[in-house]
Amino acid sequence: MSEYLLQMTGIDKRFGGVHALDNVNFAVRPGKVMCLAGENGCGKSTLVKIISGVYTRDAGEITFEGQPIHHITPAEATRLGIQVIYQDLSIFPNLTVMENLAINSEITAGRKIVNRKRWEQTAREALSKIGYDIDLYAKMGDLSVADKQLVAICRALLFNAKLIIMDEPTTALTKKEVDALFKTVRQLRDSGIAIMFISHKTEEIFEISDDVCIMRNGKNVYSGETKDLTKRDFTFYMTGRELVDDYFVPTNISEKPVLQVEHLTWKGKYEDVSFDLRKGEILGITGLLGSGRTELALSLFGLGKVDGGTIALNGKPVKITSPIQAQKLRIGYVPEDRLTEGLCLRQPIADNIMLSSLKQLTRALGTIRHDELFDKSNEWVSKFSIATDDAHKHASTLSGGNQQKIVLSKWLNNDLDVLILNGPTVGVDIGAKQDIHALVHELANQGLAVIIISDDLAEVVVNCNRVIVMKDGRLVGEMTGDRITEDNILDIIR
């Protein structure tokens, strides 16, 4: 018997003209956590679907526990002990925890009649596998994402799983929940189960995995033990380019502040916050979850309350009571996820860019001047070097990074003075992250005042020329230039 539980050699798969998997070699050791890493669209999910029997391979060999496997069907994969926990967890939100746990094995056993007693027994057995306790009669949809995930894991364990594949399991989890999940993953690993962990988050991969396989454009570009890999190499393999942290160098800071905040207070959220912001600056606001950082931004955009203190724009005091008013005052706010989700993928690129500024393009009766729409959007296409030959094409034809450029141009169309970005790169690939950062630097140096709100300290350090730190609703520190380091920020937060 080989040292590998699952071994795949020379796997090839084409979809029409697309070479989704090109001679991929891949192996998983029993009792180890193997990370399958790669940016979106690199072929990770295709590979998983071949292992789980959803797709058939065009070429290549697969052995499981030393036995060659010629044809895998989903049922065969289950019989072998391969379980996939998909990103959506494949749960039934309308059914109870008990049913969610037992239904798969009942179907597999070919049962026709429901026996509640047996279901409950199966469910309890599943929970006992990882010593997890939860109300069996609770409705699945009422649980937290972390609990849903544990239920999905327990369910997979019912099938005497030898290999559990987890597809981006940490996406919707908080840091604390991720830690709890990792604890469970280690527990499973120590009991001899192989875990295949799909992710694109560098930190997590280095924390949890023993082995790593990195894919790019349908090829595996690295496989080996995680400890032999540096984070720098990892990034290189992921993106195919040498990414160096491009620190923001402000070149165009205005003399007078564009935004002045004095003793701003939202009772119960934050208190007595004062800072100013000049054009050409990127100001970082950081702090733990619940420190008041997001609420502060909401107040500046008219979505939060102001109980005391003043806000002044270009020296004039203003009261911001609604987002519409904030936009009129040339303040823009991009909430979390918006850079990835604020797109109509099946609409032309041009329409997406101009979506929030159509008012500038309407004739008397509200009809749209299409020529101008394309002229204007083409300006943005060239300004941000969005990789497309025709703005009539759908937004879905673009890569993730380019899509995010569209979202940014959409906001910037409205001639902003202040742009507030809340968690601008949450859930974004490393490569695309770099692109967004470069873009923000460029915007700042063109004279925009930018606020980045983030708890990703590395992001704050690289991108901001000034950082203010919040803790428990109060401003507890401010640093500039070389003083901005992760350690310095952590000292204040802790």
Binding site: P74, A75, Y86, D88, S90, I91, F92, P93, N94, L95, E99, I103, N104, E106, I107, T108, R111, K112, I113, V114, D135, Y137, K139, G141, D142
Partner: protein
């Protein structure tokens, strides 16, 4: 544990519907001067009328319920029922069948409904189309067959005797103490009770029933869990077709007439009732109990509007209100589940 159970119960639509029904019964009872429930005989002229209305609506509601649980909408079941019974009665009349027993006619109507339902099932499961659009299409198509292609006519006094006699069967007979007019409780109520029991058993005790909930909850997950979603849907829509044919025939027997156009728009009163009874418009939710209670509420209101001092013109208004309340509650619940 007990408080948890209580909490779960109070979160269910059925629970509130039951309270509404009880209040409504009390109200009608008081306003009618004790005409709804009269001890010791229990049955009164009013309540047997309500029960009679509930037979066909309640059984149709079961068709709609099972489809909605699976996450679909069937707009075509009244059209299936109409085509099935119109064709059956015409054939029976022309060939002199069913003069003494209705059984052949009932089976024939079921068979026709089954074939029509299979068409729905085949289109829906094979082409993975939106069920509402498909059944809107087949509804019109089936009505077209009945009216245009076959030119099926109304059959009233010439209806085969077997059907008439069957429809007149009753399980209880009494006379109104005031007027002395005789009234009966139709034996067809037994079909409603039996159907409710069967559907409840299928939904709760069989893997097929759980498949409907699973598919309605998350179709992709159901497929991954090992359910044959395609086959399940095909079976569901063909069974609903057969059932619709049967129910239509029961209605013909009860009314002693077969009118091809009688079913037009029926789905628009049945579906809201099912939603009011706790079935989710997004699928995955719904119970037989809740549906029966909701149908009871609607039948009670429509039969006691005069007693409650409401002009019958308000019927439409009430139906509209039911749709709005039911759909809003259903949507709000689905929203709560997401967050």
């Amino acid at each position: 544990m007990n408080t948890a159970k209580l909490k779960r119960m109070t979160r269910r639509t059925e629970f509130y519907m039951l309270i509404v029904l009880i209040l409504l019964i009390a109200l009608v009872q008081v306003r009618s001067g004790g005409k709804l429930i009269a001890l010791p005989g229990v049955f009164t002229r009013l309540n047997v009328t309500v029960l009679r209305t509930m037979v066909v609506d309640g059984m149709f509601a079961m068709c709609s319920l099972v489809v909605m649980i699976s996450g679909g909408f069937d707009l075509s079941f009244p059209a299936i029922a109409a085509l099935s019974y119109s064709l059956t009665t015409t054939l029976c009349l022309n060939n002199g069948w069913c003069q003494s027993s209705p059984i052949a006619g009932l089976l024939l109507a079921m068979a026709i409904g089954w074939v029509l339902g299979m068409l729905n099932g085949w289109i829906i499961s094979n082409f993975k189309l939106n069920t509402m659009i498909v059944t809107l299409g087949t509804q019109t198509f089936f009505t077209g067959i009945s009216m245009g292609l076959l030119k099926l006519k109304e059959i009233t006094s010439t209806l085969p005797e077997g059907f008439k006699a069957f429809g007149k069967l009753y399980i209880f007979e009494s006379a109104d103490p005031a007027s002395g007019i005789r009234f009966t409780l139709s034996a067809m109520v037994l079909f409603l009770i039996a159907l409710c029991a069967i559907v409840s058993f299928i939904l709760n005790k069989t893997m097929f029933g759980r498949a409907l909930y699973a598919i309605g909850g998350n179709e992709v997950s159901a497929e991954r869990a090992g359910y044959n979603v395609k086959r399940t849907k095909f079976l569901l829509y063909s069974a609903v077709g057969a059932l619709a044919g049967f129910i239509g025939m029961i209605r013909v027997c009860m009314e002693s007439q077969s009118i091809p156009k009688a079913m037009v728009g029926k789905e628009m009163t049945i579906i809201p009732a099912v939603i009011l009874g706790g079935a989710s418009i997004y699928g995955g939710e719904g119970t037989v109990f809740g549906t029966v209670v909701a149908v009871g509420i609607i039948s009670l209101v429509s039969n006691s509007m005069l007693i409650l001092g409401i002009d019958t013109y308000w019927q439409q208004f009430f139906n509209g209100l039911v749709i709005l309340v039911g759909v809003t509650v259903s949507a709000l619940q689905a929203k709560r589940q997401k967050h």
